[in-house]
């Protein structure tokens, strides 16, 4: 911004009549106004004043309105008994003794659960579809692009309704449950799976897994160094898997089979016991994963196309087979292009999980911005807390992804 030019000298030299008549003080004010630094400060002061005014008005109105409506602001409701039930809970919760605070944690965990599983599923599906779209097999690529165009252009909310009302609701009643070997049941109340019960000694499994992961890390480092020095290749994938499975199996036998399964059974009109996966959860997970995968597929395709053809040809010239060159040459380079937009898609998935409220899955929004807000009337607190959680999740995710991004970025001279 070059406002300096006409500031003082130019104006006086040109001797414009309307300014020539001004008093000396007026001229000083005009030149001050043309001073970019001063103008910058002026703009910013005006902006801050305007924002402060809006905030002040909003705050005073809110205070007046809340007094009129008899709402007492504050977080005192946090420890008040909630008195409503939540069907899916990862921590202990009951309408008889739990508080609104407990309800918040139940909702938050449910959000994280569906978002976490959705991220894994959507990424897997998205990569498969994205690679399939580039397949030389025209039927496969046609299927993949149909998938992308179809699911991308229909609102997620509609897809959730379809999954929930038109697909899962039409499953048979509990009496006619579909069953797999009498151990898993599927009906319109959800999916019933054998639930693992961790008896005494289960910690051994955890310890074994930790030890195995540490051992694998050491082994892989050694294998890599050995390959750098001698050129010998090691089957790191197979060996890692063997170490992990071996450690777990050893721990299992040493601890005497600590984990038992609570198998669901069909009793009269219902299925009892086992792990119940609610249809709301399944619908939300399916909807989120399938919808987001369509976007991820496009990102993956663009990423792979961004790697120049010469890279593939060079890999073939080195004698690498197509699968290997894809894995070792193309994908690592494509990841650089893929990761930033992928991050924002995974964030979108997390935020979209709030559509749970439409089909009644008890996620954070449904529980806290829905039931709790309606019961307590603490609109500001509930909205601020819920939005704060999503903001925090967004910031955390972008933070972690930025670290990764920095690791895979091209190191330039």
């Amino acid at each position: 911004m070059s406002d300096t030019a006409p500031a003082s000298g130019g104006k006086r030299a040109s001797g414009e009549p309307e300014r020539g008549g001004d008093a000396r003080g007026g001229d000083a004010i005009v030149s001050l106004f043309y001073n970019p630094t001063f103008r910058g400060v002026l703009y910013q002061v005006a902006l801050i004043a305007a924002i402060s005014f809006i905030l002040y008005e909003a705050a005073t109105n809110a205070i007046v309105n809340m007094r009129r409506l008899g709402i007492v602001s504050g977080l005192s409701f946090w420890n008040a008994p909630a008195g409503f039930d939540i069907n899916q809970r990862l921590i202990d919760y009951s309408s008889t003794y739990s508080t609104y605070g407990d309800a918040f944690w139940v909702g938050l965990l449910n959000t994280l659960l569906v978002a976490g599983m959705g991220i894994v599923l959507a990424t897997l599906l998205g990569f498969i579809v994205g690679v399939a779209r580039l397949s030389r097999n025209k039927i496969i690529s046609l299927l993949a692009s149909s998938y992308v165009e179809f699911f991308r252009n229909i609102p997620l909310l509609l897809q959730l309704y379809v999954w929930y009302n038109a697909v899962l609701r039409t499953l048979p009643a509990p009496r006619q449950s579909l069953t797999l070997a009498d151990a898993a049941y599927l009906n319109n109340r959800g999916l019933f799976l054998p639930q693992p019960v961790f008896g005494p000694g289960s910690e051994a499994l955890l310890a074994a897994a930790a030890a195995a992961i540490a051992a694998i890390a050491f082994y892989r480092r050694w294998a890599r160094r050995d390959q750098d020095i001698t050129g010998r290749q090691h089957a790191t994938g197979t060996v890692s898997l063997l170490i992990l499975l071996g450690a777990l199996a050893a721990a299992w036998f040493l601890a005497g089979g600590p984990v038992t399964f609570n198998v669901p059974e069909q009793r009269g009109f219902n299925v009892a016991g086992g792990l119940q996966v609610f249809p709301e959860f399944v619908a939300l997970l399916l909807g989120l994963s399938i919808y987001t995968a369509a976007f991820i597929a496009e990102i993956v395709r663009a990423g792979i196309l961004s790697v120049s053809r010469g890279q593939t040809e060079a890999a073939y010239a080195l004698g690498l087979r197509p699968g290997v060159s894809q894995r070792l040459i193309i994908i690592p380079q494509a990841m650089r292009v893929i990761v930033p937009p992928l991050t924002s898609q995974l964030l979108n998935l997390t935020k979209n999980s709030s559509l749970a409220v439409a089909i009644g899955y008890p996620d954070l929004v449904q529980v806290f911005m829905g039931t709790v807000l309606n019961q307590t009337g603490q609109a500001i607190e509930c909205v601020v807390i819920t939005m704060g959680v999503y903001l925090l999740l967004s910031l955390l995710t972008s933070f972690v992804m930025n670290i990764y991004n920095r690791r895979v970025a091209i190191v330039e001279r």
Binding site: R136, N137, V357
Partner: protein, 397 residues
Amino acid sequence: MTTTGETTNGRTTVGPIAFVRASTVPAQKPPVLVGGPVAWVRANLLSSPLNVLLTVIGLYFIYLIVPPAVRFLLVDAVWTGDDRNACLAETVGREVGACWAYVGFRLRFFVYGAYPDGELWRANLVFVLCLVGIVWLLSTRMPRKGLGAVYFFGVFPVAAFILLYGWPAIGLRRVDTSLWGGVVVTLVLAFTGIVVSLPFGILLALGRRSRLPLVRLVSVIFIEFWRGVPLITVLIMANTMLPLFLPGNISPDKLLRPIVGVALFASAYMAEVVRGGLQAIPKGQFEGAQSLGLNYWQLTRLIVLPQALRIVIPGIVNTFIGLFKDTSLVSIVGIFDLMRTIEVSLADPRWSTPVTAPTGYAFAALFYFICCFGMSRYSIAMEKRLAAGHDRQGTVK
């Protein structure tokens, strides 16, 4: 090796020559086809065992999806009828697919909601005016784009509001927004979203690149806040908190609340798209403009924005597609957009059949798909058009 042999009647007398062909070469097989459908299938579908397997799997998927879909949507569909009996397998006596009779019966509700019967022409006129604006702005062959923008962003919103809401002074009966519904509301939301978010997004993008630290800070906080929270929380906030923040007993219109929420939300996303365009403008353009003596607003309005906005047209259209799909979320907070009219109509016992819900959803899906797919095709075509200029300059794609 000298040749002394002489040839008679195709026979060669044996001399020092080891071999001379005595008969014509047998005709070779014709070369493998390189054109035509057979060759295409061989090259693209059956080139290797893995490829054959993929083809079989792909065909199986198509077999799983396409015939049932066609059967449901077209073959077994019921096209006429007055109530649920037309679409019940028991009364019809055959497998029943989509119940289009129900969509036909409810179509008025899906498009206009509870808009009064005598005033429907007003909504229709708005549709036509909107279409004129869209074609004017989006078609590359239409002249006077500047005038088109004034029409679409200035004249049309006012005209549409007067037409839809009514103005008793000029003889248009007032129609309360609670009577609006269906596609009308969906389009109102989407349109207001784009009309507000585009200028506001541009301002925010400029603010984010401003050299005034406080302006930058405010823009960044604003953009990152709206981008960090889900739209549904914004809508609930607009519903529950907006009345609290306004003075006295002003209770904002029920439809206005989500419009404000959607517009603010879309502005933040639009700002990031525009920022991408601003960053793509080479520094020389700024410097050139400054050396011509243009001040900040002249430089922005005459040099930077025309170039930046051209680049990001595909991005703007994509944002708009997202916005258009996201308008369906207002149904959760009780606004009668297309999604909600369908949900409500499903509860009607007169049309309660097992196929009603799938039919309603199929109709909604069709509507959204046609709109969004059309927009995304346009965006791709535009992208190619814009890339053409770069190609000529030898820029690597």
